[in-house]
């Protein structure tokens, strides 16, 4: 009791503040601090500081920024959507049928192992440098990780629980909706996460290679001009957007769906 009171007021205040700030925010603040510190020793063309980056970003025309971000988000969205659709269908087919599994598993692994860049190049050559080719390349390159996740999820469905439901007279619909799908949901969420990560990286690459707008295009443009502050600013912008999707949509969804799961202790 007295030990705490004897500490200087400032330290007490700091300890209280420390408790209030979430760890995530602290780690971001620490990162910005280190970034700022390092930037003191480097030229603006190599590593601009946080403030310089923000200033550089604000020099852009905001209508322009909005346009490029919108184009990128459209591509990420379309790529994500089709990758999820293909991945879920292929994954379910492979999980349900042993025959289809042996027909498809090698190809899923091949597509997974092929660098995304290859699909981007092939797609541009075959379909031309257009939005269609872009979405094709992104969805083809991203679907295997979803397929593999869903495939494992379907194979892992506990047949004993399904039997239980049958014994108690559950209709096929109830068995699917209330017994089988809840067992696969975690795999859907996990694959959505991975998919989002892959699609946005690929989108940036596609835009850099063959589109005349979007964040990837901007990155290339500023890189050509050696304006590092703009390169970092655009990267940061995209990061913030993707992280927001993760934290505002996927995370709460997961918390809501899987409240029943025990915490894992190692």
């Amino acid at each position: 009791m007295s030990a705490i009171n004897e500490q200087p007021l400032f330290w007490q205040w700091l300890a209280a503040l420390n408790e209030k700030i979430p760890n995530r925010l602290k780690s971001v603040l620490l990162f910005i601090l280190v970034w700022w510190f390092l930037s003191l020793f480097m030229s603006v063309n190599v590593l601009p500081g946080p403030l310089a980056t923000v200033k550089a970003f604000l020099r852009n025309d905001m209508g322009d920024v909005f346009f490029h971000v919108r184009m990128t988000m459209q591509r990420i969205g379309m790529g994500f959507f089709f990758a999820m659709v293909i991945g879920i269908i292929v994954g379910i087919l492979m999980g349900v049928s042993r025959t289809l599994e042996t027909w498809l598993d090698m190809w899923v692994m091949i597509v997974l192992s092929t660098p995304g860049l290859v699909f981007v190049i092939l797609s541009f050559i075959w379909f031309g440098m257009n939005e269609f080719a872009t979405v094709v390349a992104i969805s083809i390159a991203s679907f295997p990780s979803i397929a593999i996740n869903v495939w494992q999820g379907v194979k892992g469905v506990d047949g004993k629980l399904v039997d239980m439901a049958r014994v108690f007279g559950a209709s096929p619909q109830i068995r699917l909706k209330q017994v089988i799908l809840p067992q696969i949901y975690p795999y859907f969420i996990a694959s959505a996460r991975i998919c989002l990560g892959i699609t946005w990286k690929l989108t940036a690459l596609v835009e850099l290679l063959g589109r005349s707008n979007g964040v990837g295009y901007q990155l290339n443009y500023w890189f050509q001009l050696y304006e590092m502050d703009q390169v970092i600013a655009w990267t940061g912008l995209l990061l913030i957007i993707v992280l927001s999707i993760e934290m505002l949509i996927l995370n709460p969804l997961e918390k809501k769906l899987f409240a029943w799961r025990p915490e894992v202790r190692l």
């Binding site: 039997d163 014994v167 108690f168 007279g169 109830i174 209330q178 029943w260």
Partner: protein, 258 residues
Amino acid sequence: MSKPLIKIRDLSKVFTQKSGCLTAIENVNMDVFDKEFVCILGPSGCGKSTLLNILARLDGAYEGSVEVGGVALRSTKIRMAYVFQDPRLLPWLTVEQNLRFVINCLGIDKGLSDTKVRTYLEMVGLRGFEHSFPYQLSGGMQQRASIARALCINPDILLMDEPFSGLDEITARSLRRELTRIWQETEKTIIFVTHNWYEASYLADRILIMNQRPGNIAKEVTVDIDRPRSYEDPRVFEFSSRLVQDFLSLIGGDDVAR
């Protein structure tokens, strides 16, 4: 005696695998009467669970005839519930929701379900755990929940497949005692599969002993110990050891002596 509730005649089940055919049970004949507590006793792999799965309509590919309530098994209106060896609760539902799940499966009136859920959870001693998830309960409590789930649809027949064999002896004992109490209270017909001779002698009105490969009913005995029985009753002990002796001599002593 009155007409049997379950009548099984010449029941056989063959599993066809790549490596050949495996006859799980062959020419099983048995009757189970209303409100009777029957134990099916036998060593592992004698086809006890196969028999129970056929009765539970999990397995429709068999030969022979199975009648329940006077009509063929597939068209019977007699309601059956199953208590598995493992609790098989849906892990994403609370205990209460697990009970509601099976009530909804059968489309039973939802207004009634509230009181039913509460009544049966109380009966198995899970009052206060309605909103717990299965992982928060011990193995014994999960099995209690699974018994409550089976009871809450008010079945005519309760099928139980070694429900206590995965539990520690103390928990198993208290659950056995409660099961006999619940059985007397609710007047269900129970078919209880076990490999535990003592458990069978303590619980059953009648014991059907199964032989191995191919499984069939080798012997049928009536347990003439009056209820309520105590688990430590020397008569139960005597009965079960006599049962083992009889069975060993039945299947040929030298095979066992070796």
